[in-house]
């Protein structure tokens, strides 16, 4: 026999102001199986909670209804309260008479009171049928996977490893380092990017709790928090990295030259290569598309009769350790993880979408990242800024801001955040390289929010003579050796025409290619711009809606280096906190399948948004649905679609819900 206590909260005047508490008390007293009622000014306060605990003992209550605010606010609080009073925490129901009643019906006290009584009646009917539920404990693998080896991923991996847990970092490029490795200097301190990044790269590679897979990609992901099973594809490098010493003979002697991806076409690399001198690992991969021997093999395989291309194999002949392995194939292996951190970063917008700027048409129209490579001491020009067309030193440089940012016509409505700052940095650095350089910066707004950022952009103007012009560029075209830039100075309201040696497009950030496919594999959300979505944009910025999967860096939105590092550390803390438990406690309010009723139609597997329902074969050969309690979030979709009523939701059983509904006309 249920002995129900009802506790009605005034919430100051939040509820009492528009609901007649005395009438609700009176009505609740007459509801079936209710043996005790009381009201409190603030039920959530310490005295309010103590009052519940005392009443449970004094009146031998075995069910509790709290009529107060939304269960999203205080359900956890009151579960703890009844637990302290010796009851199972799930023998509690919250009647939401604030958000769903007093707040929205403050103009009609009479009807608000009636509604409050009905809401309490529903809760009483339901709680009478509540039964004890117990959380389950699931084991967990204390090992984290970090996807993406940019600065954010590196930071996350290091922090988790330093907290004492194993980490696997998967990077699809042949080296870690990401975009930051391509930068020359960093704003606003003008630290050399490589000087501050490479020690971290080395630390990561040498860390005894870190396993690094470069030139590898995540192929598939199964499982749930604490128990992810991830298939990783190690792409064939054609070089045995166990025996290779990274001596460099092969990439110095390889005769095949192709444009370097790392230098964004500003320089060349060989077919067997490391992307840049400080790459980690400092061991090469063979680009099978361009390698002469691979081309030869493909030619032989095609069976054509033409003149055979050369076999080459220079690297193989010169390698002192015999590490070239032509037979190597892609390798897929499965690893278990407890948490996943996604740090896939960004790529720069392809400026050729702007026909009027002529990127890709005129060699001297380059992107900001390309200029970084031209300024970098280890870059293709050895740090001498030479323009791509004729190698001349540019004297007049025009910058165009917001290329692929803040432009709805290009489906990039957002601000990329870093461009204003890197244009100022470039203007300063170009003057440092050559005092005769004059920079013109066409901007829409100067967005320099950040510590010492505004001061930095002012320095670019005041000390380094960069001329800022507010307005957009309408056209860039080649005239002889010069680029003519047509634009507008919107502050004086006049068209401007400049003759430039070099034009730098401040291309914005967009999510890395392939991030959508990855998000679908992980079952996490992405927004219209394909940036990944946080669980809460302010309060849960590095978590996702999927437990155990965290986000860091520019895969969430445009970020600069300090923000990316901070997020890497934040995501690491979330993973470490998860690993501080020996078991994962699951919410017991999950779906359950009555296998004697399940017909195996498996409609439930199609509607489940969390991919929590799989199948199991019974001994008689029948196939029935089976719920993974680690993944189930208790949304109830499966219970709603189940045609044979074989699925029920713990804590929200059909019986409980019917009781609520029928209570309304009893």
């Amino acid at each position: 026999m249920a002995r129900i206590g009802v506790f009605i909260c005034h919430c100051g005047s939040n509820i009492a102001g528009s609901v007649d508490i005395a009438r609700v008390l009176e009505a609740a007293r007459k509801m079936p199986q209710v043996v005790y009622v009381e009201d409190n000014k603030y039920t959530c306060s310490d005295p309010g909670q103590a009052s519940i605990r005392n009443a449970v003992k004094a009146h031998r209550l075995n069910r509790v209804v709290v009529a107060a605010c939304s269960p999203r606010m205080h359900e956890k609080t009151f579960r703890k309260t009844v637990e302290q009073a010796g009851l199972n925490p799930f023998l509690l129901e919250i009647a939401n008479i604030r958000e769903q009643d007093s707040w929205v019906h403050s103009d009609d006290k009479e009807r608000a009171t009636e509604k409050a009584i009905e809401i309490v009646r529903l809760a009483v009917a339901k709680v009478a049928r509540n039964y004890e539920l117990y959380a389950r404990q699931i084991s967990l693998t204390k090992r984290a996977l970090v996807i993406g080896g940019g600065i954010s991923g590196i930071q996350a991996a290091l922090d988790i490893a330093n907290a004492g847990h194993e980490v696997v970092l998967v990077e699809r490029e042949p080296t870690i380092g990401g975009r930051m490795a391509q930068l020359d200097k960093t704003f606003p301190t003008l630290d050399c990017s490589a000087c501050i990044l490479t020690p971290k790269m080395v630390e990561l590679a040498q860390h005894n709790r870190v396993v690094l897979f470069t030139y590898a990609e995540v192929q598939s992901i199964k499982g749930f928090v604490g128990n992810f099973e991830v298939e990783v594809r190690q792409k064939a490098r054609k070089v045995n990295h166990t025996t290779c010493t990274g001596c460099g003979t092969c990439w110095q002697k390889c005769p095949e030259k192709v444009p370097s991806e790392f230098d964004l076409g500003m320089g060349q690399r060989t077919a067997i290569y490391i992307p840049f001198p400080q790459a980690v690992p400092t061991k090469p991969v063979i680009d099978t598309e361009h390698c002469r021997y691979m081309k030869y093999q493909r030619f032989v395989a095609s069976g054509e009769e033409d003149k055979k291309p050369p076999q080459c194999r220079v690297c193989e002949k010169l390698c002192p350790t015999g590490s070239i392995d032509w037979e190597e194939q892609d390798r897929v292996f499965t690893e278990k993880f407890g948490a996943i951190i996604v740090a896939t970063g960004y790529q720069t917008f392809d400026a050729s979408a702007y026909g009027e700027y002529g990127a890709g048409m005129y060699p001297d129209v380059i992107s900001g990242l390309q200029l970084e490579r031209l300024m970098c001491a280890s870059g293709p020009t050895g740090g001498e800024v030479k323009r791509p067309s004729d190698g001349a030193h540019p004297k007049t440089v025009v910058f165009v801001s917001c290329v692929g940012s803040r432009d709805e016509a290009k489906c990039r409505p957002y601000c990329s955040k870093v461009c204003c700052m890197y244009m100022a940095k470039h203007a300063i650095m170009l003057r440092e390289h050559d005092p005769e350089v004059q920079c013109y910066i066409f901007y829409i707004d100067i967005r320099a929010g950040g510590k010492a950022y505004e001061e930095f952009t002012r320095r670019a103007q005041e000390e380094y003579g960069a001329i800022y012009l507010r307005g957009r560029i309408s056209k860039i075209y080649q005239e002889g050796k010069k680029l003519v830039v047509l634009g507008e100075d919107s502050l004086i309201g006049r068209p401007v025409e400049l003759s430039a040696d070099l034009v730098v497009l401040a291309t914005g950030m967009e999510p890395s290619s392939g991030v959508v496919e990855l998000a679908q594999k992980l079952n996490i959300s992405y927004d219209t711009n394909q940036f990944l979505v946080e669980a809460h944009p302010k309060l849960r910025p590095v978590e996702t809606q999927s437990d155990g999967i965290f986000l860091a860096g520019a895969c969430v939105g445009p970020r600069d280096i300090p923000d990316s590092v901070a997020q890497g550390s934040a995501a690491a803390v979330k993973a470490a906190a998860l690993f501080s438990q020996d078991y994962i406690t699951t919410d017991p309010m999950t779906a359950m399948v009555d296998i004697s009723r399940c017909t195996g139609c498996l409609l439930c597997t199609q509607v489940c948004p969390f991919k929590a329902i799989s199948t199991q074969a019974l001994r008689d050969g029948r196939v029935v649905a089976s719920v993974n309690e680690g993944l189930c979030k208790g949304c109830g979709l499966c219970a709603a679609v189940c045609r044979s009523k074989a699925i029920d939701l713990r804590g929200f059983t059909n019986q409980q819900l019917f009781a609520e509904v029928t209570s309304l006309w009893q």
Binding site: G355, G358, I476, Y477
Partner: protein, 297 residues
């Protein structure tokens, strides 16, 4: 309001309502003649829209928005009754008709326009430009005389591809429709930056200084890109670029003379029609010498 056959493919469409507009019946006769002859050779039937009237360019759309929609609305209604897609060759007519059909999708605007023209608009025609029609059957063009070695600067002007939201037949900054056609005809489209720059439009009488400056830049860029001629799809672009070349030479001192022809004339030439048939001998900057030097005239 229905828009007739808005989903059908152009490639399968044999007959079109044809909207010549005032220019093609007067100063741009060579455009009209070459368009009709080329279309005939391609098996495209152009039926001149009966009772067509002014499209509203450019006096209406620069003075009164309602008038600018009402004038083409009447033509669109007539074309809707015929039931064929309405093809315009003049870029200005195309722009006015296309924008008006866009505006008429708005119920309030349509009601207002109906009271202005005193007729109910049940159905309008789909508006297309002649370039789109030719492009839709590009592979089927029976090229008889390839325009080999002819370098063409394709000039689209401002109205053919703008405003992007309402017209959008091609990229607004670096369109390719005409380039594709010219390449198909055996000529070489040059890469240049002034495909959609302003030619000065209707200003040659009021502000000749502006027109001369803008045209000078376009012509000089076309020459610098190595073009033998400029191909256009707009009578106003043609008149601005073609008729002021001597003045420009006098004013700026450099020889920026380049013949300016309609794309339909190049198309006709490749289809085997003669210089005289296509009125290629009617331009002020004579294209015949450069055509004969390539063995095309």
């Amino acid at each position: 309001m229905k828009q007739a056959e808005s989903t059908g493919t152009l490639a399968g469409q044999k007959a079109f309502s044809y909207f010549p507009g005032c220019s093609l019946h007067s100063t741009a006769r060579e455009y009209d003649v070459s368009a009709r002859l080329s279309c005939e050779a391609l098996g495209i039937e152009l039926k001149e829209l009966e009772g067509w009237a002014c499209c509203g360019a450019s006096s209406a759309h620069s003075t009164n928005e309602l008038l600018a929609v009402s004038l083409p609305a009447r033509d669109l209604k007539r074309a809707g009754e015929v039931g064929l897609p309405l093809v315009a060759a003049c870029a200005m007519c195309f722009s006015r008709l296309k924008i008006a059909s866009h505006e008429l999708q708005n119920n309030d605007m349509r009601k207002l326009v109906q009271t202005v023209i005193g007729q109910e608009i049940q159905k309008t025609a789909r508006v297309v430009h002649l370039l789109e029609v030719v492009d839709s059957r590009l592979d089927a063009i029976p090229v008889k005389k390839p325009l080999t070695e002819l370098k063409v600067a394709c000039y689209y002007g401002c109205l053919l591809v703008r405003p992007r939201e309402k017209v959008a037949i091609d990229d607004a900054e670096n369109p390719q429709l005409m380039d594709r056609l010219v390449r198909k005809l055996g000529a070489e489209p040059v890469a240049w930056a002034f495909k959609t720059e302003c030619c000065g439009a209707g200003l040659p009488l009021a502000r000749p200084d502006i027109v001369l400056k803008l045209c000078h830049r376009i012509l000089a860029q076309a020459r610098q890109a190595g073009a033998d001629c400029i191909a256009v799809a707009c009578p106003e672009c043609h008149s601005n670029l073609d008729t002021h070349q001597e003045e420009i030479r006098a004013r700026y001192g450099d020889d920026a003379r380049v013949p300016v022809v309609y794309f339909t004339q190049l198309l006709g030439l490749a289809l085997g029609l003669s210089v005289q048939q296509l009125h290629l001998d009617k331009h002020l900057t004579d294209p015949v010498p450069v055509l004969s030097s390539k063995g095309l005239a």
